[in-house]
């Protein structure tokens, strides 16, 4: 059990890979540790919240509850995506209940204070008495919506709830540089290129499973024929991300031999290369010559995670049938993973499980994530000590 008095022992996790153990059970089963990790791993980091494609037009608004925090994703009238706390500065009422378009201003449903899409408080009806919208005690310039620090990369809207993380571009400079060639317009494939999977597992197990290629021939035998284990390599950037690359990526072809267009100007390496990276804490990315995807892991609870999958193409104009085929292909792969991430979650209830022993050859990327988790949790404990 972990609580304020007896924090989990992470020393075995911090050992070098050949001697290390995985994270203790409590990190998957104990509500107190979930609460501790919520702050250390999600609120103090840059966590993936949504995608820009969720709010395609100026004025589009989408309320999102992130680990219980009521947020509002909004594309302002200028076209900039912003994230606010979804509450009124008057009595803390929830402002927007359903995804919708803000035509003019956001009007609070309680006493009708109005906010611009940039978050400015623009009117305070009857605040000085009936028919009087002014009062010397109400300084609108100090009562705008509370904006949450956000950053968009590869269309993913990242938020830093604590407001204290280093800038996203500083924190993730390495992956940004690694994939600089893919820094070009991404076109969300639309309704046929997004889906959700609800999984009964702790979100971290989905990260861990995504990092590694060890399971591919067993869990995804269908992938095996064109993606053998020895054609994969580890991707390891301590403190930021880990994953796997393949040397034998093959483009999807349609029934009539059609393919998706390629991203422009990619180097040779990407003709048959592709990379799959877990960007800590909760976003799983893929880059390939002809399409990319992002999976946002939404932690709903200790053993409840929703995977939000979004597939992107190099062009706004791609073949719908081929797109659907591609979505079905990936959905099949991700569904194959559900059994193992749910099984590992149930396995974490075995008393005395020591976190498991890693394959020194194959589990480097997984251990790298565990080590990151342990380091963040220890740092948070040190801060609060």
């Amino acid at each position: 059990m972990a609580n304020d008095l007896s924090p989990t022992d992470l020393s075995a996790v911090r050992r070098p890979l050949p001697q290390a153990q995985g994270l203790p059970n409590a990190h998957y089963t104990d509500p107190a540790v979930f609460e501790e990790e919520k702050h250390a791993l999600l609120f103090s980091q840059w966590a993936g919240l949504a995608v820009g494609a969720d709010v395609p037009q100026p004025g589009d608004a989408k309320p999102i509850s992130f680990l219980g925090v009521p947020l509002l994703l909004l594309r302002d009238k200028q076209g900039q995506v912003r994230v606010f706390q979804n509450i009124c500065r008057h009595r803390g009422m929830i402002l927007v209940e359903e995804p919708r378009k803000i035509e003019g201003a956001i009007r609070c449903p309680y006493h009708s204070w109005c906010y611009s899409t940039e978050g400015r408080l623009v009117s305070t009806p009857h605040v000085g008495g009936p028919g009087q919208n002014l009062h010397p005690g109400i300084d609108r310039s100090t009562l705008g919506l509370i904006e949450v620090r956000s950053h968009i990369w590869r269309d993913v809207v990242f938020v830093n709830i604590s407001g204290e993380a280093p800038d996203f571009e500083v924190m993730h400079a390495d992956l940004i540089a690694r994939w600089a060639e893919f820094e070009q317009p991404l076109f969300h494939g639309g309704a046929d290129s997004r889906f959700e999977l609800a999984v009964k597992t702790n979100w971290k197990l989905a990260v861990e499973n995504y990092c590694e290629s060890y399971h591919l021939p067993w869990v995804h035998p269908g992938l095996n024929s064109y993606s053998r284990l020895e054609d994969h390599y580890h991707i390891e950037q301590p403190g930021a991300y880990s994953g796997q690359g393949t040397l034998v990526y093959r483009q999807l072809t349609g029934d009539d031999g059609q393919t998706f267009p390629d991203f422009k100007g990619l180097g040779e390496k990407w003709n048959e290369g592709a990379e799959y990276v877990s960007l800590f804490p909760n976003v799983l990315f893929a880059v390939q010559r002809d399409h990319c995807y992002a999976i946002l892991l939404e932690p709903r609870g200790l053993d409840e995670t929703v995977e939000h999958i979004h597939i992107y193409y190099p062009s706004a104009d791609t073949d719908p049938a081929l797109r659907r085929k591609n979505t079905e292909l990936w959905k099949g792969v991700f569904i194959e993973d559900i059994g193992v991430v749910e099984g590992m979650q149930r396995g974490r209830h075995a008393p005395g499980f020591d976190g498991g022993r890693f394959s020194p050859a194959m589990d480097g990327p997984t251990h790298l994530f565990h080590d990151w988790v342990a380091a963040q949790v220890e740092a948070a404990r040190a801060r609060s000590a």
Binding site: E103, G104, R107, C114, S123, P125, G131, L134
Partner: protein
């Protein structure tokens, strides 16, 4: 023709912002005191603001002139 009150209620019921802007302006016009008119103008303005109605800027100017808005 239904009375103004009934039409206002119906517009609230239907969430018809454009009708609310019009009807509250009419209520302001028919009001007997400046305070009562101000009250209705505030409502017309708020619904205009919310819905991006073309009358919003003019309503705001009127309220500002009455020192009821900034």
């Amino acid at each position: 023709m239904k009375g103004l009150d009934a039409r206002l209620l119906a517009a609230h019921e239907a969430g018809d912002k454009s009708a609310l802007v019009t009807l509250y302006q009419q209520a302001a016009k028919e009001a007997e005191t400046e305070d009562a008119a101000g009250f209705f103008l505030v409502h017309a303005y708020v619904f205009a603001l919310e819905s991006g109605h073309r009358d919003a800027p003019a309503l705001r100017r009127r309220l500002v002139a009455l020192k009821r808005e900034e």
